[in-house]
């Protein structure tokens, strides 16, 4: 049997997780919905709306060429937000597998592993790492303007 020929799987986390899918440049990534407080549209945000919140650019952080950065993921824990290009939707990830050991770089910190949802596989961002990075100097601040927003309630999500 071919499945057996592929040998034993790496240990996988098999708990259903609601995951927010988002785009940074051409890449699709995910983050556990429970880690987010809200998702905001950058257009019209005022600097005062993010007072005391360290806003990281996902492009700078992941080494991806600059993009529109139209959405901001505000983390539930601490005072951190991540600017991304767009938010796609929420999915339920049935399995999270660890990164293959061949990956030896900073990505081992960036991601909790690979989440699988239906036919999709995408890296799952590690929110703890974002908290740590936000404590480094020179957080990037957002432009000023009005606000459009959607909020993530306890255990659920909605956004513009």
């Amino acid at each position: 049997m071919r499945a057996k020929r592929l040998g034993p799987a790496d240990p996988a986390i098999r708990e259903p997780n609601a995951v927010i899918l988002f785009r940074v440049g051409p890449y699709r990534l995910g983050i556990d919905a429970r880690a987010l407080k809200e998702i905001r549209n950058v257009r019209g945000l005022a600097a005062k709306d993010f007072e005391g919140i360290a806003t990281l650019s996902a492009h700078d952080f992941l080494g991806v060429p600059p993009g529109p950065g139209e959405r901001v993921l505000v983390l539930r824990q601490g005072r951190v937000a991540l600017r991304v290009d767009r938010v796609e939707r929420m999915v339920e990830a049935s399995v999270v597998r660890p990164l293959p050991r061949a990956f030896q770089g900073a990505e081992r910190e960036w991601y909790r592993g690979f989440a699988m949802a239906g036919d999709m596989v995408f890296p799952l961002l590690n929110p703890d790492m974002l908290e740590r990075v936000s404590q480094l100097p020179v957080p990037q601040m957002l432009p000023s303007g009005g606000v459009e927003e959607g909020s993530l309630g306890e255990g659920g999500a909605s956004w513009v």
């Binding site: 790496d10 992941l62 061949a102």
Partner: protein, 158 residues
């Protein structure tokens, strides 16, 4: 190292950006389309992304970049290679086109060959390098480690 050829063995020949290389057939489990290689941001040199095969996440090695220094080779298929007895994980190797099975003798690697050359096959008078993926991966890992060590030293000096 003896110069006697090894007994006949089976090899998978594959094209890579205008050249041909080989892997021992015993190292190769299957050939799949590259369409499903998932690219994502990462910092490990020599890796392209991952491939999902039967629920497993396999790292995809950028062989064209490692062997030929080609940044954007046209890649059509992935050879999925066997996990070894040392518990090394399954990997995928993208190639440029159709593969070919060859049953022949492997000659010892010419003097001065890279460590990852296990031997050579002669096909139509042309030598084809048989790759040792384990050596190749080990070389990439140590290159990564030394690069980061030297970067750390530079930062320390700064």
């Amino acid at each position: 190292m003896g110069l006697k050829p090894s007994p006949q063995e089976s090899f998978v020949l594959f094209p890579l950006d205008g050249r041909r290389f080989a892997l021992p057939a015993g190292d190769v489990v299957e050939l799949s389309r590259t369409g499903s290689v998932q690219l994502f941001p990462h910092t490990t040199a020599a890796l392209l992304g991952v491939l999902v095969r039967r629920g497993e996440i396999l790292p995809v090695w950028d062989l064209a970049q490692i062997l030929l220094g080609t940044e954007e080779a046209t890649l059509k298929y992935c050879l999925v290679t066997r996990r070894n007895s040392a518990g090394e994980e399954w990997t995928a190797v993208p190639v440029s086109g159709e593969c070919q099975m060859l049953h022949c003798e492997m000659l010892p690697p010419p003097e001065g060959s890279a460590k990852y050359v296990r031997g050579v096959l002669l096909l139509d008078g042309q030598p084809i390098e048989v790759l040792d993926l384990k050596e190749l991966k080990a070389g990439c890992a140590s290159a990564y480690a030394s690069e980061h060590k030297s970067l750390g030293q530079e930062e320390g000096q700064a």
